[in-house]
Symmetry: C2
Subunit: 271 residues, 2 copies
């Protein structure tokens, strides 16, 4: 009976905002039956330009909230959180915790040797991608640059837009100059710009995003632990009013979202 | 003695982040002797795309913190906070509270009749500028549009940049089409783009920003209440690590900042 109870617990997924829905979408594709709970920290988004210590605090608050609801596994669907907080969350909780960095790095190293990483300033500064690559492939060449404007551009809905193309040209030029063979899209917003990035980098450059590889990793993990279960339920918790979330959710998830609740993590933590 | 004590209390100034430093700069210019305390909520910046209720909560937390330190007056140097929270703060505290909207509107109406407002989405949606204008000048024509990308562009340091010019051209075109005679820069980040905006709008369009008019309003208020005083002290409280703040502060204030402390407003509120 205990086993069935645990199997039917949801998988927790969180992000600073809407970006993690690209990961949610892939998880749903790979695991149609699992119960999923998503937390988007719209009250404090974005994380990518905030300090590592603060991102760790926010991540811990969210994971504690999900822990209080009861989850069987946690997916940190935010690159900045994964880069700064994954080890802390793994130490702190008994359920398995998956970040988005390891799966991307593994995917990138399948063929890549000269690997570019484009991500938020805090993710790049953390060095988490760089370290993960060099740990597995000390001979790899790593080129990392931040791209702070891509998140606001995607959230403004300026996709397939000439201005966004100009911004991409500027951010991508150092990667082109260095001749990367693989480019990791190190932020969950960037898959929405994938076509434009691919056109700009050229077809010979492999683009790796964390959504698919992380979802696949979760599927493997649940299978290995015999934890598959659920009835396909979905629940969304947001830390700010979801009006804007609903429009963006359609952009990221390709469909409307129901069953949304607004929570106050500061109050949750005082309980 | 009581009087002297109150006169020497600092003026509190707050913003969601660094933008309010444009107001701080003008206050320092008009009132070189006043003691000033600045709070920048870098942990939760930006406010401009968050819900009005959440911005009210954040604004109240900051004002309560400043109240606990002791201030003789409060300047809400953030348009989004002023648009959503000014009435609440005025009701809640006994010290006089000044926002950035009223002073701008008064300045705009000196000559303007067809008035444009460019600001963050939450400021525009609040209707605060529109209402303030129509209350004073029911015959005025008001044209308001949001410009969510300008804050990230300024914070990326892309000022006098061809990409920023393209973004401005897009955001400013409805104001040009409607033939505004005055444009209110309804966000404390926008004065840094003033020259570009002026070039794009044409010299005949008057640009109004809140920094100067708000600082002048504060000077009048302190004089009227006989509250002038101080020794020119400055103190800065930030809700996140100031590394990024220091670089941006030079951009906004034109000089380096010292005497910076990092605070946790959630913990402050529990005391």
């Amino acid at each position: 009976m205990k086993d069935l109870y645990v199997k039917n617990l949801p998988v927790g997924i969180f992000d600073s905002g809407v970006g993690g829905l690209t990961v949610f979408k892939e998880i749903r594709r790979f695991l149609p039956k699992e119960n999923l709970i998503y937390v988007g920290d719209l009250a404090r988004v974005p994380y990518g330009s905030k300090s590592p210590g603060l991102v760790r605090k926010f991540s811990l608050q969210i994971a504690s909230f999900l822990n209080s609801l009861g989850i069987k596994s946690l997916v940190v669907a935010c690159n900045t959180s994964s880069a700064t907080s994954l080890e802390l969350l793994k130490r702190r909780f008994s359920f398995p915790v998956i970040g988005v960095i390891e799966p991307s790095v593994e995917e990138a190293l399948k063929e890549g040797r000269r690997i570019g990483i484009i991500a938020t300033p805090t993710t790049i500064k953390s060095g988490a991608y760089q370290k993960a690559i060099l740990k597995k492939a000390p001979e790899a060449e790593v080129i990392a640059f931040p791209a702070p404007l891509l998140v606001p551009l995607v959230e403004e809905g300026w996709i397939e837009d000439p201005i966004t193309l100009q911004v991409l040209k500027r951010y991508l030029s150092p990667f082109k100059e260095k001749g990367v063979d693989t480019l990791i899209l190190g932020c969950t917003h960037y898959p929405l710009l994938r076509d434009m990035i691919s056109k700009e980098m050229g077809e010979e450059v492999r683009l790796v995003d964390s959504a698919t590889s992380t979802a696949y990793r979760l599927k493997q993990l649940l299978s290995r632990l015999g934890l598959e279960g659920g009835e396909g339920r979905e629940e969304f918790f947001l830390t700010d009013d979801p009006e804007r979330f609903h429009n963006l959710a359609v952009l990221f998830l390709g469909r409307k979202i129901t069953n949304v609740k607004v929570i106050d993590l500061e109050e949750e933590n005082e309980r």
